[in-house]
Amino acid sequence: MIGYLKGPGRVWVGLALGAVVLFVLAPSVLSDFRLMLLGKYLCFAMVAVGIGLAWGRGGMLVLGQGVFFGLGAYLMAMHLKLSDAGPGKAPDFMLLYGSGVVPFWWEPFRSPVVTLVAILLLPAAIATVLGLAIFRRRVKGAYFAILSQALAAAFAILLIGQQTTTGGTNGLNGFRGFLGYNLFDPVNKQLIFSIAAAVLLAMLLLTWHLYRSRYGELLVAVRDQEERVRFLGYNPANIKLVAYAIAAAMAGVAGALFVPIAGIISPADVGVVPSIAFIIGVAIGGRNTLLGPVLGTILVAYAQTTLSEQFPGFWTYFQGALLILVIAFLPGGLASLWTVVKRGRRPGPPSAAPMAAAAADPALASEQKVSI
Amino acid sequence: MLELVDISAGYGPTDVLHGISMVVPDNSVYAVMGHNGAGKTTLLKTVMGLISPRSGRILLDGEDITRTKPHQRVARGMAYVPQGQVSFGQLTTFENLQLVADGRNNGRAKIEEMFHLFPALEMYQTRSAGLLSGGQRQQLSIARALITEPELIILDEPTEGIQPSVVAEIEELIVSLSKTGLSVLLVEQHVGFALTASAEYAVMASGRVTSRGSGGQAAIESVVAAMSI
């Protein structure tokens, strides 16, 4: 869209603004606890950026991102556990519940480098294999959504079943250090927060570029008329695969950063419910925009924290109602709210309204993308 | 039969029709012509109730039906053959017909009648309509409309995609229908045929009626002139 031609400047301004907020403002005004909380939200937001790409642009309702989030998180947690235990030794929980022998597939993750590479590649690789199996056979739409959801359920069950090697329901926690730094030290906490913030901004930049690239256009084409694209000489499976793998990689990295920030990862963070929670944030923020998913996710996570502090039962109603209202009546998400208000009309279907608006009013489109 | 009073309509934010008025008389064909995108289909959809007009009224036999639902209009004797050979693809040909014959006492006989009219449909009656060829689907669409024994039939380019010999039959059919007490609102690109068959015509451009008159061969020249502006 033409709007993008004007976009770059604004996006850079937006990113700079985001950087100031995250690197300067947040650490100085927030307590350690709140900063770490925000850090967690940022991790969720990374998953959301990926979902925005796969779902908003690619039309693949990824209901199982918890799997990739979990993969990244467990990889990181395994490394932290091993390095806490010390060279050649087994993590505490293995001594407690198992034989105390470190399984062979844990061993490579003693190395921080292997761990890092695995975090970057493994979720994407698994997504690629899965994607090949699914997209090549033209499983799509609701089929894909349900399958990916079942996948999340199976992954959580698998983790729970392996008490002695994955910590079972307990998950992995009680990490003391992160790459040699003491995790209890506030300075190091701030450092980790900054890493998360930087990664999120980098992901936004990457996604923004993807959206305006030819690939981004192609992805929309595949979303809307997959079969037609086939007759132009593309294999839609591969196009979807790329978005799915990138989304998986983002979720994986998010999971990996979540672990030192939250200090724990457990199957409850990776199953069906958390996977849907990711989607909720994206839907509420606006699946079709760049920043919508990020802001929506942070908003929802924040609301959850504060509202459930005050009214535990009420939160469930609130979350349910929010989801219903936004998806049913404002499918473009909150990002489309002011467009709708401004135009004084009912929002169209999710794909049509914001895109059409963006196409018709380029200034508007790029505006949406930088307003942090 | 049908009277449109100052109808304006459109999709979402875009306006397509601007103050259309016309009267479709009893027992005759009323032809609507116009270039692509003139708003013909939009007009028919509005008449059928698929789009609610922003302003104006639609009267059927003097009764205001502006706010009624499409299926209620069907119950009042309207039938619609949409543009583009649409059918219920996953129902068989027979079920497509049965669907509208249900609850009519002479339903079965009506279906037979249609089979007589369109032998291809009888041949492929157990095939899913979605597997029929384009033209076969169009025949099915027309048959489905006729089964309801409408008083007013609305046809949107009914001969598009149909083989010439069948086109001729359909054209004959339309003419003969209008003689048996049926009103026809016909959108047609084939000016020659449209005017031959019709008692009255209107030409549309950009959502407005730009010229109108009584049909017949004599009108061809003025219509051609009206349309080539």
Binding site: L63, A142, Q149, A283, A328 | P70, Y80, G89, G130
Partner: protein, 294 residues
């Protein structure tokens, strides 16, 4: 030998439960394209109906027999309300219905908690369903036999309706093309509501049946919803006979896996089996062919 027959029966029984919970979905998801995550909560509502009926009537036998039609009614009415308030704004957006109904499901669960209390409640089985029937030296739980029969009855009734009645034709027509259906004289609003009524009603019936096997609580439906969708997916969307076969095959497989591995592993293996199956038949056991590009 006893164990083999026992497992076979367990598999069939599991299959009958799966088909019972998936049948309504085969209608609302398969036929209408609505991914109703609140289907699980309709099941829950059916179960609570049985609980309430038992509270009112006391006798477990009579209350069960009355609870089945009541469960159908309650589930159905809830479905109609859902359809009228939300779903009808969302036809053609299947993925969005998934999320909206997920929201509904959250709310209904919390509502159940607030109405019936968080702890699970128990619905007693009538005396004639307690214990088991000896067949060739193997004890088959009467409650499970009853559910098997109920499931078969429901499948037969539903397929007959969909295939042979004018209602069935209308339902199928509306699913495929709402606009066209209106213009051939079908009231889509009424048809939608009726379809949803039947589909959700079946969920209610499933809920009543489930009280015979387990406890009734706010999360009853959540436990089944994913399985139910998998049945529909494997069966082929819109295919009742597909769902039927899928349910029994999955039930038997699950029983085999469970016996030879662990319950957790069985779930994982089952999913792997499904993914492999979809490699062979991506559109499910039965699929509808069309020429359209969509």
């Amino acid at each position: 030998m006893d164990v083999v027959v026992g497992q076979l029966f367990a598999g069939l029984s599991q299959g009958s439960i799966l088909i019972l919970i998936a049948l309504g979905l085969a209608l609302t998801f398969g036929q209408m394209g609505v991914i109703n995550m609140a289907h699980g909560e309709f099941i829950m509502a059916g179960a609570y109906t049985a609980y309430v009926m038992q509270g009112i009537l006391g006798d477990a036998g009579i209350s069960l027999l009355i609870a089945i039609p009541m469960g159908f009614l309650i589930g159905g009415v809830m479905g109609v309300i859902l359809e009228a308030v939300l779903i009808r704004h969302m036809y053609g957006r299947p993925l969005d219905t998934l999320l909206v109904t997920w929201g509904v499901s959250l709310i209904l669960q919390q509502l159940a908690r607030d109405i019936f209390g968080a702890p699970n409640v128990d619905v007693g089985s009538p005396s004639w369903l307690q214990g088991s029937v000896e067949v060739g030296g193997v004890a088959l739980a009467s409650a499970r036999l009853f559910i098997l029969a109920l499931a078969i009855a429901c499948v037969a009734a539903l397929s007959a309706i969909i295939r042979f009645t004018s209602l069935g034709r209308r339902v199928r027509a509306v699913v495929q093309n709402r606009e066209l259906a209106e213009t051939v004289g079908i009231s889509t609003r009424r048809t939608d509501r009726l379809t949803f009524f039947i589909g959700s009603g079946l969920a209610g019936v499933a809920g009543v049946a489930l009280t015979l096997l387990g406890s009734t609580g706010p999360t009853l439906g959540t436990n089944y919803i994913v399985d139910a969708f998998l049945v529909v997916v494997v069966g082929g969307i819109g295919q009742i006979r597909g769902a039927l076969i899928a349910a029994f095959v999955l039930g038997l497989l699950q029983s085999v896996f469970q016996y030879s591995t662990t319950a957790s592993m069985a779930k994982v293996l089952l999913l792997i089996a499904i993914v492999i199956f979809l490699q062979v038949r991506p559109q499910g056991i039965f699929s509808v062919r069309t020429r359209s590009l969509a």
